[in-house]
């Protein structure tokens, strides 16, 4: 029986090549999308699931509550981790991780025979307690995890770094010099790991937290209120209740930090986040691995499912439209004794065969397009047979489900034909079937139109973000990171040399610059108020002419100046938002004072200037309170050079030459400020690109289906067309006749898709504090595009039908 079914299925596939081609192509592309997304989702949810007892691991986060805002952060003060372990028996183990702020890279130097033989920058250097590798599972290829970070000045490096340093030789116990803001230190390599699993704690090298200046600070740190800059991870005893512990932490933090917090005017609460949820669900992972987003996972999953559904609909529509041809077969089979159930299983078998063929082609497509997808989604998924057994089973399940969904309606529809009607030749598609077919076409095009609109809105919003004035000059700004003590101390000399070039407008330095993450802030209060009434202001410690170099607009008072010696000490420049928060106007704020308390001492700042509000973060965030201080220690992290040149190439060469004069052992690296700022939109940009690709695929599959239906209609009406032509109808008349019905469906789809797309995209736009309005012309464009695409698809067949010599078509009847 089965063989008979498969034989007939195969012969049907062969006989109706166009139909088979459309279905198999559509199904395989749809399935390939689903398979890619399945891999992507699996990749996203695999983060931090591999640690031994991952289910008992949590990160301690902090909620800062001031009078006017509440903010969650992943940071805690240094003494938190081990005090938790000491105070709560359910905390079995704890560890701290420190990720340097505003310092993306450290320099590695290898000395041989007293000479530096290798020197290169490495990113993602984390500092961690000796217990780190007790909590987190890393695959060590050299060294012993549990003892690796026991000694100060020990470092565990990734396999890649080890190879860069020592090639194929063992790296264990070798000495490497690492220079960073933490000092210039000789580290002993105590372990080499292979990063074979995905983790939010994505360090490429881990230094003992007891090393260098940070080590000294950590050993002496007792304060629980301030310096919230450490990640605290804990592992609970098996079976303990994290919620219960979380509740006890309020009393805990009040016990250790209550007095200090009260004086400084803020409150803190601690919360726990499961380590395995950090990637997708945490709202902030600080400086660690770029966050995934559960909503994007949902978005991509639904798009993939819809794409496959569109392909299934093609199958349903083409099968039922062509059912006249199959009806005779159904009739005959019933006459010779087939029961309905047998026929249903026959037709389901056919669609399963098709979907399994589709699976084979889809697998090839996935194999071919995985690199492209990885690039688009910035993932590094690779398929390994051993790791993806369940994925493969999932793929097979996907093919079976697809076959059943696509095949069930046609199977029931076809199997219910009455043999007597069919054999009398009275077969016609029932009105219900025709209407359902129309409904499904509308559904397909609704999805396509929604996707077109979504792509359009994302594209417009991204352009808007790019075009928006940021409130400072972002073009022609070269940013040079000052990462090590050496470079920081050579800054003044380097600046002098660089400013000698006539194409350099000005050069300055600062702790951070607009567009990159900065943690620096301070709670201030004004005269006559107390610490309890503080207002939080984000800060940047800058060099004299930083405000001029970036072109911030001073609207009142003055920027810092060397002419005022006192500027070095206690002067501040605020933005408009900050001025307003303190209850002043830009005019009357000049000369007023800000204060904060620290260790029972009061610090004072005089307000000397006000700058116009500017964007220091991506436009997702609205502008907040911001202030500039002069950095009296000149401990800058970045040098910014404003140039005015038509040849950036030679300008950069000039800068490198100057750099080498002062920093011969350190590579010259730079970025452009405008590009750095755009990096805030990477996630959205990436999603926009992926959505537009899917849009293209969805439209393509919808059009395949429409093309199939148009072919069928043209075939069916070939006699009518012949007669009309004999009666004098022009080609245009015929094309109109055949296209009109389909275009009506697309118009209805536009009516349905419009409101849905509007609602969804409006939701998406809420992520941005600064955003476009969705305009009617976007709907017009999406509608016109859909209509045009549909028209081109349908008219191709219509024109072909219209061009057939009527004598021929009438003779075949």
């Amino acid at each position: 029986m089965l063989r008979n079914y498969f034989k007939i299925a195969f012969r049907n596939l062969q006989k109706n090549k166009a139909f088979s081609f459309i279905n198999i192509l559509g199904l395989s592309v749809g399935m390939a999308c689903c398979m890619l997304i399945l891999l992507y989702v699996q990749n996203e949810i695999s983060y931090d699931k591999h640690h031994t007892r991952a289910e008992d691991m949590y990160r301690v986060g902090t909620t800062f509550v001031t009078t006017d805002q509440t903010k969650n952060m992943p940071y805690t003060p240094a003494p938190m981790a081990f005090t938790l372990k000491a105070d709560f028996p359910e905390v079995e183990q704890a560890t701290r991780v420190f990720v340097p702020f505003n310092e993306d890279k450290a320099i590695f130097k290898l000395a041989e025979n007293g000479k530096v033989s290798k020197s290169f920058y490495e990113s993602k250097g984390y500092m961690a307690d000796s217990t780190f590798f007790d909590l987190f599972s890393y695959k060590f290829i050299e060294g012993v995890p549990h003892t690796a970070l026991n000694e100060p000045n020990s470092v565990v490096v990734s396999e890649e770094i080890a190879q860069k340093l020592f090639g194929n030789q063992s790296a264990l116990n070798k000495i490497v010099h690492i220079a960073s803001s933490n000092g210039n230190i000789d580290f002993k390599i105590t372990g080499v790991f292979r990063p074979d699993k995905l983790s939010t704690i994505d360090g490429r090298f881990f230094m003992s937290l007891s090393s260098g200046e940070m080590g000294a600070y950590v050993r002496s740190a007792r304060n629980f209120a301030f310096n919230n800059m450490f990640y605290t991870f804990i592992r609970l005893q098996p079976g303990s209740n994290p919620q219960a512990l979380e509740k006890k932490l309020t009393a805990f933090i009040n016990k250790y930090a209550g007095a200090d917090m009260k004086a400084a005017g803020f409150k803190k609460k601690q919360f726990l986040e499961a380590v395995s949820d950090l990637h997708l669900k945490s709202e902030d992972n600080g400086q660690m691995a770029g966050k995934g987003s559960i909503s994007y996972v949902y978005l991509l999953t639904s798009i993939a499912i819809f794409t496959l559904l569109i392909a299934c609909i093609n199958f349903m529509n083409l099968s039922t439209a062509r059912s006249g041809k199959r009806a005779a077969e159904v009739g005959i089979r019933k006459v010779v004794g087939a029961e309905k159930a047998m026929l249903i299983s026959q037709f389901l078998g056919e669609s399963l065969l098709l979907s399994i063929l589709g699976l084979v082609i889809a697998s090839v497509l996935v194999f071919l397009f995985l690199p492209v997808f990885n690039q688009l989604a910035s993932t590094s998924i690779h398929i390994e047979v051993s790791q993806h057994v369940f994925t493969f089973l999932g793929f097979i399940a996907l093919a079976i489900i697809t076959g059943l969904i696509a095949g069930s309606y046609p199977a029931f529809y076809l199997a219910s034909f009455q043999p007597i009607k069919v054999l009398k030749g009275k077969f016609t598609n029932t009105l219900a079937a025709v209407n359902l077919r129309r409904g499904l076409v509308i559904f397909q095009f609704s999805i396509s139109i929604i996707l077109i609109l979504a792509s359009l809105v994302v594209w417009k919003q991204m352009n808007y973000l790019k075009d928006q004035s940021l409130g400072f000059k972002q073009a022609q700004q070269v940013v040079i990171p000052l990462r090590t003590k050496t470079t920081k101390s050579s800054y003044e000399a380097l600046k002098t040399e660089i400013q000698k070039n006539s194409q350099v407008v000005s050069a300055a330095a600062a702790g951070s610059y607009p567009g990159i993450f900065s943690a620096r802030d301070q709670n201030f209060y004004t005269d006559g108020k107390t610490g309890a009434e503080s207002v939080n202001v984000k800060l940047n410690d800058v060099d004299y002419n930083f405000i001029e170099t970036l072109g911030f607009k001073v609207i009142s008072g003055r920027p810092f100046s060397k002419n005022f010696a006192a500027d070095t000490n206690s002067r501040i420049v605020l933005n408009e938002k900050a001025v307003a928060a303190f209850g002043y106007t830009p005019e009357n704020v000049i000369g007023k004072r800000l204060h904060f308390d620290w260790n029972n001492e009061v610090f004072d700042y005089e307000i000397i200037g006000v700058v116009k509000d500017f964007h220091y973060e991506g436009l997702q965030q609205s502008i907040g309170r911001f202030g500039f201080l002069l950095d009296r220690n000149q401990n800058y992290n970045y040098m910014v050079v404003n140039v005015n040149t038509s040849s950036m190439e030679s300008m950069l060469q000039f800068m490198e030459t100057q750099w080498k004069k002062f920093n011969p052992e350190e590579p010259f690296e730079y970025t452009f400020m405008d590009q750095d700022f755009q990096r805030n939109y990477d996630t959205e940009q990436r999603m926009g690109t992926i959505v537009s690709y899917f849009t293209f695929i969805a439209i393509f599959i919808s059009c395949l289906g429409l093309y199939g239906l148009a072919t069928f209609t043209a075939e069916q009406r070939i006699k009518e067309i012949g007669i009309r032509k004999v009666l004098g109808a022009s080609i245009t008349n015929i094309v109109q006749l055949l296209s009109k019905d389909f275009l009506k469906l697309v118009l209805i789809a536009l009516l349905i898709a419009g409101p849905i797309a509007w609602y969804a995209m409006n939701e998406w736009l809420q992520k941005f504090a600064y955003r476009i309005e969705i305009q009617w012309w976007m709907f017009a464009i999406a509608g016109c595009m859909a209509l045009l695409i549909a028209f081109l698809t349908v008219s191709f067949q219509a024109v072909k039908a219209a061009l057939i010599n009527p004598v021929k078509s009438l003779k075949t009847e």
């Binding site: 012969r11 010779v336 007597i420 054999l423």
Partner: protein, 221 residues
């Protein structure tokens, strides 16, 4: 008695009113008979045959098939009855285009749930008998009309039915081919199969043992 129709009516209702296709048809068939139904086009011959073949139901009246009240029993039993005892032959042959001669003949056996080896020997026997062994791998479109009808008959009799219903089986054939088919029917009838055929040809009708004339839905004479 093989079957019996009692006061069978068939009508269709439409906006224009009720159209009667069969009126008061009474009709007995003994096992082993060879009956020819004749009558002008539109007189209800096919409808009558479909009712006999249980593909259509009378609007009114009784139909007994080997003592079973077909008009009363459930769909499931009816198709069992039909599957077991009746074979159908059509004017337009109605072979499945995508299946070979062999596979077309084999199809009813699949639905009878027969084992592969049994099927093979039955189909081989019939191919042999119809001198079509050499053509077993051809598709219907590669055969002449007469050959296609032979396959149609082979398919109808492979399940060894008691009754063969044939609706103008020679209507699309030339006279020589028609004669062959009629000879075959005669032969089958002699082997004990009851045959009811619709035909327009007096000559073909003469092969049968009894002729029924249908006129405007009524049996005449």
């Amino acid at each position: 008695m093989l079957l019996q129709l009692n006061k069978v009516f068939k009508w269709y209702d439409s906006k224009a009113g009720r159209t009667f296709i069969l009126r008061d048809v009474n009709f007995d068939v003994q096992e082993g008979e060879f009956i020819s139904i004749m009558g002008p086009s539109g007189s209800g011959k096919s409808t009558l045959l479909h009712i006999l073949g249980m593909m259509d139901e009378p609007s009114e009246g009784e139909y007994y098939f080997i003592e079973q009240p077909v008009h009363k029993i459930r769909e499931k039993q009816r198709s069992e009855l039909y599957k077991k005892y009746i074979g159908f032959v059509f004017q337009a042959y109605h072979l499945i285009d995508e299946l070979t001669v062999y596979e077309n003949i084999e199809t009813p056996l699949l639905y009878h749930g027969m084992k592969s080896s049994e099927r093979q020997s039955l189909v081989a026997d019939i191919l042999d008998r119809f001198h079509m062994v050499g053509k077993k791998d051809l598709f219907p479109s590669q055969l002449s009309g007469g050959q296609q009808q032979l396959v149609g008959i082979a398919r109808a009799i492979i399940t060894k039915p008691k009754l063969i219903l044939a609706d103008e089986p020679t209507g699309n054939l030339n006279s020589k081919q028609g004669e062959e088919i009629m000879d075959l029917f005669k032969q089958l009838n002699q082997e004990g199969v009851t045959i009811i055929q619709v035909t327009h040809s007096e000559k073909n009708a003469a092969y049968g043992s009894r002729i029924i004339n249908l006129f405007d839905g009524r049996i005449e004479g």
